[in-house]
Each structure stands twice: as structure tokens, then as C-alpha cells.
Amino acid sequence: MTADGIQPRVPAPTPHRSSPVPRQIRLIRAIFVAAVLLLAGLAALAYYSTAANAEDARWVDHTYDVIITTGQVFSDLRGATATARGYAMTGDASLLDRYRGYAAAVPAEVDALGRLTADNATQVTRVEALRRLAGQVLQGLARTLAARGGSAAALMPPVLESHRLMDDVVTVTRQMQDEEDRLLRARRSRAAQGRGRTLTVIVGGNVLSLAVLLACLYLLTREIGERRRTEARVHVLNQELAGRNAQLELTNRELEGFSYSISHDLRAPLRAIDGFAQLLRTRYAAVLDAEAMRLLDVVRDSGHRMATLIDDLLAFSRMGRRTLETKPLAMGVLVGECIAEVMRATPERPRIVVGPLPDCRGDPGLLRQVWVNLIGNAVKYSSHNPAACIEITGHVEAGECVYSVLDNGVGFDMQYYHKLFGVFQRLHRTEEFPGTGVGLAIVMRIVTKHGGRLWADAAVGRGANFLFSLPRMETPG
């Protein structure tokens, strides 16, 4: 029977867990984060949509530029043709000047048109055709000017040719304008679509965010209501508790008065019983026979026993009222003192082996009582064994200090284990081993008060092992 072989009968203390965040709060947090992400996404989307719309608008403007420039080329060519023809017929110098202005403007305009349509292969081809036609028109007009002053017949071929060329110019510019019109329509429609999509996304997104935030608000309101109700419940419970506390305090005071009166009022008659029995014995020794003397001794012994019971009961009740005053303890030193204390009160001299004992925090006065009671019991119940031996050991185990007092005395029947720690409960007759049955109840109270456990293992005739644990508290500082 060793300390390690003993299974604790008291359930291990439940591990302390930190309280988790309630599910409701986690849900609200998640929804709120979702709303924030949604709004951030919407902001980004709105930014990019606006940028895209501006791009679309720029393309629409570009198309207008192409259409206007194309019209410019056409009108300048027509202007040049008209003024050249007029000058050829009238010789008016102002018409020649205007013709030169038109003719000079055309190449720059065609160049500008080329730059504007550089991205569109079809239009580039058409611009090249236009450039070629414009060149031919201007060459034809130069020939018209050269034929000035000649016969009307000499003027005819160049004029007719420029007419034909202008028809081609009309065809090309119309094609170009048609193409640009088509592009304009397409771009307008795309820009409108983009704006519509953006609007849908922004409105939809905002509605969605609003819904999410409303859900959040609803959950929060519910949670706050729940908390308010819980607080109200806690308040009511607290009041009940305070009432019960006051009642307990009253009961405690009554108990104190009760133990005071027990100690005073019960002891006084006992003292009288003992004293007068003794007076009877001494004053009437001459007339009392041996049997009368024995009867008086029984009276006195019973009185003494009752006095002991009262004292033990008081000690037990005092233990319940005492507050713990813990400090770090050198357990080896304490146990040494307790062994000496037990030895002073008994003639028994068993072999006592003390192993290394881990230090712990505890109330020195109360733990002294624990050790004195356990060692005293071990000495008492092994007193019938001529080779009595008591082993006191300790070890650290899973955050606890576990101490054991093992003896090779009479032990006890485990079938009565449940009575072992009760007040005034005994597993041996008083004639065999004196005692009132309070010692282990006191030990149980003290160990429980420290947050520890007490348990035992034994077998009849094979000794007993009493173990107790104390929580291993960190020494502050």
C-alpha cells in the first residue's frame, strides 16, 4: 500500500476555464465586419466606375472631333474649288487669296484627321484615300488656275475633273462620317450601359449594406435587451443572496452564542458532578464500600468523557468559523514540530520515517492541526503493533502537493469509508482506542477550506494510508 497506488475517492477539482465570447456577440461582430467590407467594396467600385464613365465620355468627344474635322476638310476643299473656279472666270484677285487660304488649310486638317483616327484601321484607309483625293483636287484646281484667260473650252476639262473628284470626296467623307456616327452610337450606348450598371451596383450595394447594418442593429438591440433582463435577474438574485447572507450571519451569531452557552453552561454542571462525586468519595471514604467507590468512578469517567466531547465539538465548530490566513510553509519543519507534539502526549514510540516534503502555502495553525491529528491517529491505531512504523511522504502532482501518512496499524474496513470523516463517527470502540471521532472531521474541514482533498485507503489489520492534497499556489513576489 503506497501513496501512488491509492485512487482518489474525491473527484479531481474541475479545471478553471476562461469564459468564451458569447455566440451572439461573435455573430454581431461578424455581421458588422461584413457591412464594413461591403461599404469599402462599394466605395472602390464607385471610384472605378466613375473613372470608366469619364473614359467613355472622352471617346464620345473624340468621335465628335473626327466628325467635325472631316466636315472641315470637305468644306475647305469645296471652298477651294469654288474660289479657284471663280478666279479663273473673273480674274478677281481677292478670290485667288481666299483660294490660297483654303488650299493651305487642307493638308494640316487631313494630318489632324490621320492622328485622330490612328486607332481605327478602316478609317486610316479612308483618311489615306481622302488625302490622295484632296491632293488630286488641289492639283486639278492648279490646272484650272493655269487655264485662266484661255478659252472656255480650255477650262472645261479641269473643271469637270474637279467635279468628279469632289464627288469621290463626298463619298469618302460620308463613309467616314457614317462610320463615326456608328461609333458614336455604340459608344453612347456603352457609356449609358456603364452608368446604368454603376447605378445598379451602388444602389443595390447601399441597400444591401443598409440591410446588413439593420440586422446588426436588430441583433444588438436584442442583445442589449437580453443583458438588461439578465442584469435585472442578477439584481434580484443578488438581493435574495444578500437576504440569505444576512440570515446566515444571524445563524452564525446564534451558533456562536450557542457554542458559548454550551461551553459555559454545560461545563458548570459537569464540574459539579465531578466535584461532588469526588467530595463524596473523600468525605465518606469510611462508610463507602468498594462497589460504591467504583460507581462513583463511573460517574466521574462519564463526566470527563462528556467534557472531552464538548471540547472537541467546540474545536470543530471554531474551525468552521475561522478565516484562512495562508502563507508559504516549510512543510518539513512543520511536520517535525507536529511529530514532537504528538510524542509529548503519548508513551508510544513507533518508528517514524519522514521523506522529503514539498513546501506549500497554507494556514500554519490549521495545517498543524491536520498533521497532529493524522500523525496522532497513525500512532494511536498502530499502538498494538510491536513493530509500529509510520511513513510520512509527499510529492507534487498536477498542480497539487500531495501528502501521505501511512501506518501499519489495525487499519479499517473500507466498507465503512463513508463514515470515516463524519463528526462523532468512529470505526473503533472507545475501549480499544480512545477518542471522540472529531479529529478526521476537523482534518476534512481544514483541507476542504484550503481547496484541497482528503482521502484514505486501508485494510483491516494491514494499516491505513491517509492522503491530502493542497493546491500549489504561486507565491506572490
Binding site: Y260, S263, P269, R271, A272, Q278, L279
Partner: protein
């Protein structure tokens, strides 16, 4: 000086059984012969102040006062307080007897200047021993200034 009687002990005790045992012990062991037994604190103070029942008593102050802690009307601590507050009675040794350690007046009594504080054992032999020791110490061994 024929009517002058030296009082050895003033003994205040409400329990007649305790009183009888104490008186028996003090007398049979020759600690004191002249013991005055009163039944409560009021009577004890009356005796010390020559009042009430003791208005016309003879003799001076006792050599010591033995007080039970728990008495009707004035208890032991009350009598002790009154005695220590009066110039005349301040010098008289006072021993308080109590039934058990449970009574928590030890500190109060010492603060008031009690000379001894004794727990009465239930066992008569031990009780007699304690009474004898206290009586011997304060009556025989202890020297007090002449009053």
C-alpha cells in the same frame, strides 16, 4: 481590634455548586479562612464600597478578589473595570475565573489590568489544583503595598 476582621478573599460566584467546591478547596487546603462569598457583581461592588447589604460591615479591603466571568447583573469584567477605575480598590489583586477558553474576554480583561485569568477545569482534582495555586500565589507569595 476585637471586631476588626481581616478579609482574605472576596469571592463573586453565581453558581452555588462551583462556589461550594471553591470554598471547600480554599478552606481544606488552608489557603484562606476568611472568605466572603457574594452572588453577583453588584454585591461584590457593594461589599468593596460598604454599600447596600454591606453598609455596616466591618473590616477593610480583601487581600484579593476572585471573580467569576459570567454573572447576572454586573459580570466579572464590569466589576474589574469599576475596581480599576477607583483609587481605593485599584491595588487589590483580581483573579478572573472562567468556564472555558471559548469565552473571548481574555484580551479585554488583561487590558483592564486583571492579575490572573484562570480557566476552571471540569475535573475536580485539576480544579482544586488551579484554585490552590492561584490562592497560594496571590495570598502567600505575592507582596502588595500596605493599604
Amino acid at each position: 481590634m476585637s471586631d476588626y476582621q481581616q478579609i482574605d478573599i472576596l469571592y463573586a460566584e453565581d453558581n452555588p455548586a462551583d462556589a461550594e467546591l471553591t470554598l471547600y478547596t480554599l478552606k481544606t487546603r488552608n489557603i484562606a479562612n476568611n472568605i466572603v462569598w457574594v452572588r453577583d457583581g453588584v454585591e461584590a461592588l457593594d461589599f468593596l464600597r460598604y454599600r447596600g447589604r454591606f453598609a455596616n460591615r466591618s473590616g477593610g479591603l480583601p487581600k484579593m478578589v476572585l471573580l467569576d466571568l459570567k454573572m447576572p447583573k454586573l459580570d466579572g469584567v464590569d466589576v474589574l473595570r469599576a475596581m480599576k477605575a477607583e483609587e481605593k480598590t485599584r491595588g487589590v489583586p483580581v483573579v478572573i475565573l472562567t468556564s472555558s477558553h471559548e469565552e473571548s474576554d481574555l484580551v479585554k480583561s488583561y487590558r483592564l489590568g486583571v492579575n490572573s485569568y484562570v480557566v476552571k477545569p471540569v475535573d475536580f482534582d485539576k480544579f482544586a489544583e488551579v484554585v490552590t495555586e492561584v490562592g497560594l500565589y496571590w495570598m502567600v507569595c505575592n507582596k502588595i503595598p500596605e493599604l
